[in-house]
Amino acid sequence: MPNNARPPLIELCDITRVYGMGEAEVHALDGVTLRIETGEFVAIMGPSGSGKSTALNVLGFLDRPTSGAYNFHGTDVANLNRDQRALLRRNYLGFVFQGYNLLPRMSAMQNVELPLIYKGISRSDREERARVALEKVGLAGRANHDPSELSGGQQQRVAIARALAGDPQVVLADEPTGNLDTKLSIEIMELLQNLNKDEGLTIIMVTHEREMADYARRLIWMVDGKVDSDRLTAKGAA
């Protein structure tokens, strides 16, 4: 570990993730080492099969690395069990998915409250925090609408509000604009960008669209389960 005053938010060291056995072994991650500090906006890109989704799953405690070290706030979290990882997701992370993944037949408000229920937050508190989160994404007026009554862009905003509701330290976004047209994609990216800039929210985003990656300040390019390049974008350099 580097001799810093404060450990980095995220530090991956020679992480591998191997699926299958023997001949059929697939090295989805093949020795990934990287460090992400609080307040960064990182885009991960790469051709399909490059391991970017697996990297996001490992970063998001949805998956466990086969080998390597993962330090989160300086604590080794590489070998936690399912329930311990669930607690980390609950307390430190927010997820935004390509397919929105809202619960149908539940209002926007109820969807945003979902992580707060698992945090054990009281009903009145929950409603207040969900309302604030919906305001941040500009959907305060749609709190009582079902996902089926909302457009794709609005659904993705609800999903972002859900990710924000639990006051996460990192938001992980997996192709957040994959299902949206260019105009809506730009809106979503501007929203994420503002959250990063104004609230200091750490965002890690996987995308295959260069234009979207350009909203980030740092771009990690992956090839064959390895970090191929890691540099600041135009915005990051500015």
Binding site: R82, D83, Y118, G166
Partner: protein, 401 residues
């Protein structure tokens, strides 16, 4: 958190009310069957006990021959009883308070233009005590009547058939070829456990019966009343020993008479209803098992349908135990709701059955609590496997679903 889980379970159940109802139908039917059976069983047992009490709870019946009591029990080859037997029982046995002879024939009773076939029993005033009859009008036999006078006491049914609403006291009715004066009317008892009308009878003094109707002094049955506080076993034993002595039965030989007790009668009748209740409860238990499998089936389908939902919940931080609890609670709520519907339905059926069978409606809180507990148990047992399947899902796979 637990409250949220319950709310979630209700939401999931109400989202598809028809499917939820069909899912729990097995439990509904099983629980309803158990509740209805046990409630009706309780009612009929209470009814039998009450009926047997109208027969006379302290009553013993002594009949010739080895066999069941009732009509046709005395066969020709068996020596009948005599009035002297009755006298000896009363004189010699301290356990017996009253003993009266009874002999019965089916005869037509005639009054004016009305005639009605009824059972005419020759007996004495003690019979009213033994069989616990009370008079609604008139008087019982006096000693003078019992010397062979032509007097009779009528059951309520006979009064209604012959006299309608008119007062029968002091009127003469004809039985066979004798004319006798009505001196009393019995309080109505209603139908017996066997379904026969207990009020369909005419009582006349035993000597009158022997001389003018049967033409024989034979006593076809002896009705006995035990003294209060005497055990049935002791009374039966006393009567048996005395009768063996009177009838000169050698030791080692079988009795040629039978002593029937009310306890035997009531245990025979409740025995039948217990066996029926047991059988139907077994059927109900099978129905509950099938109902539980139905719940398990639908919960498995539900887990598959909601794989993505499970993935989302896991992504936002739900632990395996919380997912397990969610689906388990849903199965339990479903099953307990089914149980509650079944209890209501079973009580309704039992209430209707009680009216139709003319028995008291006696709900049993114990069995209701048991039915509740049992349906909850069905939910736990059959909900656990699907819930565990949900909890074991891999969040990445589930999200991709």
């Amino acid at each position: 958190m637990l409250w949220e889980t319950f709310k979630l379970a209700f939401q999931a159940i109400l989202r598809n009310p028809m499917r939820s109802f069909l899912t729990v139908l097995g439990v509904v039917i099983g629980v309803a069957a158990v509740i209805a059976m046990v409630t009706i069983g309780n009612g009929s047992t209470a009814q039998v006990t009450a009926d047997v009490e109208t027969f006379g709870a302290n009553r013993l019946m002594l009949s010739p021959g080895q066999g069941r009591m009732g009509p046709g029990s005395g066969s020709d080859s068996v020596q009948p009883f005599a009035q002297s037997d009755v006298d000896k029982i009363v004189d010699q046995l301290s356990s017996i308070e009253i003993a009266v002879p009874t002999s019965t024939s089916q005869l037509v009773a005639v009054y004016g233009n009305e005639n009605y076939q009824t059972s005419v029993t020759g007996t004495n005033s003690g019979y009213l005590v033994v069989a616990e009859w009370t008079l609604s009008a008139g008087r019982s036999f006096t000693e003078s009547d019992e010397t062979g006078k032509a007097v009779c006491i009528l059951g309520a049914t006979v009064v209604e058939e012959l006299f309608g609403n008119a007062d029968p006291l002091g009127e003469d009715i004809r039985l066979e070829n004798i004319s006798c004066e009505v001196i009393g009317v019995l309080e109505a008892k209603g139908a017996s456990t066997f379904g026969t009308d207990q009020d369909d009878l005419v009582l006349i003094p035993f000597k009158t019966y022997a001389r003018r109707i049967s033409g024989s002094a034979d006593v076809s049955m002896i009705s006995l009343s035990m003294r209060d506080g005497v055990s049935t076993d002791r009374a039966v034993n006393d009567v048996t020993m005395l009768m063996r002595e009177i009838r000169r039965i050698d030791p080692g030989e079988e009795d040629d008479f039978t002593v029937n007790t009310m306890e035997q009668l009531s245990s025979m009748l409740t025995g039948i209803s217990d066996v029926l209740t047991g059988l139907l409860s077994a059927v109900a238990a099978v129905s509950l098992l099938v109902g539980g499998i139905g719940i398990m089936n639908i919960m498995l389908v539900s887990v598959t349908e909601r794989t993505r939902e499970i993935g989302i919940r896991m992504a936002v931080g739900a632990q395996a135990s919380q997912v397990l609890l969610q689906f388990l609670v849903e199965a339990i709520v479903l099953s307990v709701l089914g149980g509650a519907i079944g209890i209501a339905l079973g009580m309704g059926l039992a209430a209707v059955g009680a009216i139709l069978l003319d028995i008291p409606f006696i709900p049993d809180p114990g069995i209701i609590a048991l039915a509740f507990a049992f349906s909850a148990a069905v939910g736990i047992v059959f909900g656990y496997f699907p819930a565990r399947a949900a909890a074991r899902l891999d969040p990445i796979e589930a999200l991709r679903h």
